[in-house]
Symmetry: C2
Subunit: 295 residues, 2 copies
């Protein structure tokens, strides 16, 4: 039994563009976000508020958001990784902020030089700021299906963190397979454990297609009642801080598969494919998605 | 409940090489087949007996087979599409012949200029020849999940054909998603219908990853009790006679996913990935598989 509909969030303008080594002109970012919104993608992670010295590609976060209709029907979210980022998001008029914490102790040390607990404390402070500013917050757990090895992230810790944040007023909880190590079997196991710990929190899966199992994992998750997924047009993206973490599952491929299985997404697949083709042309390299060359 | 083990057949040396536009030297074909066998791939479709004028890439079928240990533990099969092909297979000492018929009336007309019934009669004659020559035969049904559109191949016809061949002494029945139009939902529906019609015949799925759903379809099929799949190293291949039909699911990606889910394949994934890398280097173009750049 699959859910009747699913909500996709295109994270390409953030998770994707961030991965590109050449600077993307701000107008192309805006055009891409708009094309996705026009194609019926209901939620788009438009940018991130990170230190411009660390991620120069995202230095134009305010400029991108200034050109979007933040009060319209499409949800434009933005990632914030520290309190300064939340401040900037509030000032930019963002309605939904995406927060993200490490759940794998080694990944926490390697990526942000913090313990998981330090990251949690920071996220709690950021959540309080979001509440105060009247912004919704999605909380993301990184590398839930493993960092250096499959499932080397302690499930007990993931469950404990889910329980801790379940009543913290988050809009949703995103579980990321940042390294593409999940399988349909481990998706079911970990999703069930988190659902049991936080039954009233909407869950979102953020899947990378590093090993080609992304859509298989979507189908297993749908069967477990998950109806929200992060995707990126053309499968754009990756994570420059996690070796081998290639792109997200492709928006158009995911939407087409869901539609073909009777799970409505409201997304105009050929329109997303056209946006991907335009981007491929301008970026000068192919993307891993399949459908953009076919439809 | 997934089966404890699965049997993969690498069809790259046939379905893959056939798709390459530049001639592959016979020694490279032999080396590829041997590398797959050495990597523990239990069954390999090594070549096809087709008219050398129609498919020049396969003109060296006898030369390839002459260099393989046809009596050893690895099964080396060969495709035959007419009686002349079966004769050549018998002469070459092949133990298992792969036969293949159209099940979609339009595809039958477009591809071989025959009706489905004419193809069936031809296959029955070929099966009789295989029996007489002491060769096992796998029968393949083409475009079971659709030709021009998803599921435009009548399921009633597929079921009737499965019933008709169920007691014809075939070694196995292969159901092909030649156009990559299957979804986990339609995989379950059509597999169940064929299982009900031919409960004692081992079923094999031949899946193309045209739309990225290949591994999702494998997982759905495993859950329906299917434990045999055709794959190709690196996702090599396609079908030059079906527009948009890109490569098979990749052997190493499939084996790695199955192993990670506890379904044994006996395949040395890094060894297959190494064979793919060697091939990519020699062919001069990338292949759609994911793992060969990672392991």
């Amino acid at each position: 039994m699959l859910p009747p509909s699913a909500l996709l969030c295109d994270v390409g303008p953030r998770d994707g563009f961030q991965f590109e080594t050449t600077p993307i002109p701000t107008p192309l970012k805006i055009a891409t976000v708009r094309a996705l919104a026009d194609a019926g993608v209901p939620r788009i992670q438009a940018t991130s508020f990170v230190h411009p010295g660390k991620v120069p590609q995202m230095a134009d976060a305010e400029a991108v958001l200034a050109e979007l209709d933040l009060a319209g029907p499409t949800v434009f979210s933005a990632l914030a990784l520290n309190r300064r980022g939340v401040e900037r998001a509030a000032k930019a008029g963002v309605r939904v902020v995406d927060l993200s914490i490490a759940t794998n102790p080694q990944h926490a040390r390697d990526n942000v030089g913090m313990t998981v607990e330090q990251g949690v404390a920071e996220a709690e402070a950021m959540l309080a700021m979001c509440r105060e500013a009247g912004m919704q917050a999605q909380l993301g757990f990184q590398t839930v299906w493993g960092y250096a090895e499959a499932e080397d992230t302690p499930l007990d810790l993931v469950v404990e963190l889910a329980r801790r944040f379940a009543d913290a007023g988050i809009e949703s909880l995103s579980l990321a397979d940042s390294t593409g190590r999940a399988t349909p079997v481990s998706i079911r196991r970990r999703v069930r454990a988190v659902q049991a710990a936080a039954p009233r929190v909407p869950l979102v899966l953020h899947l990378h297609d590093t090993r080609g199992a992304g859509l298989a994992n979507v189908v297993a998750a749908l069967d477990e009642g998950i109806a929200r997924f992060d995707t990126s047009l053309g499968g754009l993206g990756g994570c420059p801080f996690i070796p081998g973490a290639t792109g997200n599952i492709a928006t158009e491929d995911t939407a087409a598969l869901l539609d073909a299985m009777g799970v409505r997404t409201g997304i105009d697949v050929p329109a997303v494919a056209a946006a991907t083709r335009h981007l491929v042309h301008l970026l000068g390299h192919a993307l891993p998605g399949k459908l953009y060359t076919l439809v």
